[in-house]
């Protein structure tokens, strides 16, 4: 069973709905005991990086860590992906999971923010998650902070400079965009994740 982690950050309905569409059984849960036993974990997120502080406070952070240590595939979406990095300028005192190094930063001042809309992926590395998604595919973004390019970056996007659109390390995946809102491309990606 795929567990969609509920930490009161934004709208989980759309992620659940998209997983339903690709035929994957999933539950939405805020219970650390459910999360720790998950076959796969999806951590959605819209809104503020500070919301991820809830994860530590409720024991969900530890459950997620235990589950991924035993090998459960993990997908972080938007703020959920940013949380996989060490930190974010948006809430400097809230630590990330530090699966990837570096800090998420604001877009340059001369660019409108949030970065809202459909932008192209530049896929230049081998990726299990993006195997069905071609370079140049458009996906839907909406975010005010961006993650740096790191060794695990498997797709870049350009808006006032390049940032990580997707990261990957073994069974750990993160996407800055919203696959549940990215039409057929996003559904294909979710289907790939469900089949891993």
């Amino acid at each position: 069973m795929i567990v969609i982690v509920d930490y009161r950050a934004g709208n989980l309905t759309s992620v659940k709905k998209a997983l339903d569409r690709v035929g994957a059984a999933s539950v939405v849960s805020d219970d650390p005991a459910v999360v720790v036993r998950a076959d796969k974990i999806v951590l959605p997120g819209v809104g503020h990086f500070a919301a991820t502080a809830t994860l530590a406070r409720t024991g969900l952070r530890q459950s997620i860590q235990s589950a991924i240590e035993r090998g459960a595939p993990f997908l972080g979406i938007c703020v959920g992906m940013q949380w996989m990095f060490a930190a974010s300028e948006e809430a400097p005192r809230v630590p990330g999971l530090e699966l990837f190094p570096g800090e998420c930063r604001k877009f340059p001042k001369e660019y409108k923010s949030p970065h809202v809309g459909w932008n192209a992926l530049q896929c230049d590395s081998e990726s299990r998650l993006l195997c069905g998604v071609g370079s140049g595919s458009f996906v839907y973004f909406t975010h005010s902070y961006r993650a740096p390019i790191v060794e695990g970056t498997v797709a870049r996007c350009d808006y006032g400079g390049e940032f990580s659109a997707a990261v990957e390390k073994d069974h750990l995946f993160g996407v800055q965009f919203h696959p549940e809102k990215s039409g057929a491309v996003g559904l294909a990606l979710l289907e790939t994740f469900c089949r891993l």
């Binding site: 709208n11 409108k112 923010s113």
Partner: protein, 259 residues
């Protein structure tokens, strides 16, 4: 040649009342031309980048069906979905989000009580709050006044100033409708759009007056719009939406195409 950049969005708007899309009779290929869920999915298929469902219900009885309509529409839609029209409180917004909306658009209620913008933003994130502004030009000037109640009541508020305040209070986008152009097909008001777009740092969606491809090219180039709303059910058959995107692409406007 498509460049790898943030594309300009074409947003399809469906006007609904009592759970039915009104004036949607052009789509003969659809079984039920008036069903919002079916029309929204068809627009997504045809290449719309987002869908806005605008409740134009005049009566309480008609409004009562909104949440159910949103739920049915969201179920089939995997692109961004905004709901607007008559949302006055955080509770009303929450009901719409729970039913599957990604963003809400608020207008009169935001002008009456601007703290609503911040309260919805705090709960769902700034990206989920669109402030809609109905703008009317003050004759003979380059200034615009904000109207409420479906354009029936003037507020005396300067549109550019109000857009800036909405941004400061946490709006994620501005949906800017030219009342002077709305329904005319005579082209967007590019002066209005540009004035607001240059004054704020959040995306501006142009609305009102969209007609031929040239009008869209103009509002993206000279109006500096980030997105354009089309009452596509009036002006575009589903095939015309695809044609429009291809024409814009040929004119050098970055578009998500093919979808």
């Amino acid at each position: 040649m498509q460049t790898l950049t943030l594309t300009k969005r074409i947003i399809a708007c469906l006007d609904v009342t009592g759970g039915r899309v009104v004036k949607g009779v052009q789509f003969q290929q659809l079984r039920d031309a008036g069903d919002p869920a079916e029309l929204a999915a068809a627009h997504s298929e045809a290449g719309a980048d987002e869908v806005v469902l605008l409740d134009i219900s005049a009566t309480h009885e008609q409004r009562a069906t909104l949440v159910d309509t949103v739920r049915r529409t969201a179920k089939q839609l995997f692109i961004p979905f905004t709901v607007g029209g008559g949302i006055r409180t955080l509770e009303e917004a929450m009901a719409v989000f729970d039913a599957g909306a990604d963003k809400v658009s608020i207008n009169s209620a935001a002008l009456a009580a601007p703290s609503l913008i911040t309260r919805i933003g705090d709960r769902y994130g700034a990206q989920a709050v669109i402030v809609a502004i109905d703008a009317k030009r003050i004759p003979g000037t380059l200034r615009f006044e904000a109207y409420v109640r479906g354009g029936r009541q003037s507020t005396g508020r300067d549109v550019v100033e109000w857009a800036k305040e909405a941004q400061d209070r946490g709006a994620g986008e501005i949906l800017l409708t030219s009342m002077d152009r709305d329904g005319t097909g005579a082209g967007f008001d590019c002066e209005l759009t540009r004035a607001v777009s240059e004054a704020v740092r959040i995306p501006v969606i142009a609305s009102g007056g969209g007609g031929d491809a040239e009008s869209f090219i103009e509002v993206f180039k000279s109006g500096k719009a980030d997105a354009a709303l089309a009452a596509s059910i009036f002006h575009f058959g589903l095939r015309r939406l695809a044609d429009l995107k291809q024409e814009l692409l040929a004119a050098g406007i970055p578009m998500r195409w093919p979808c």
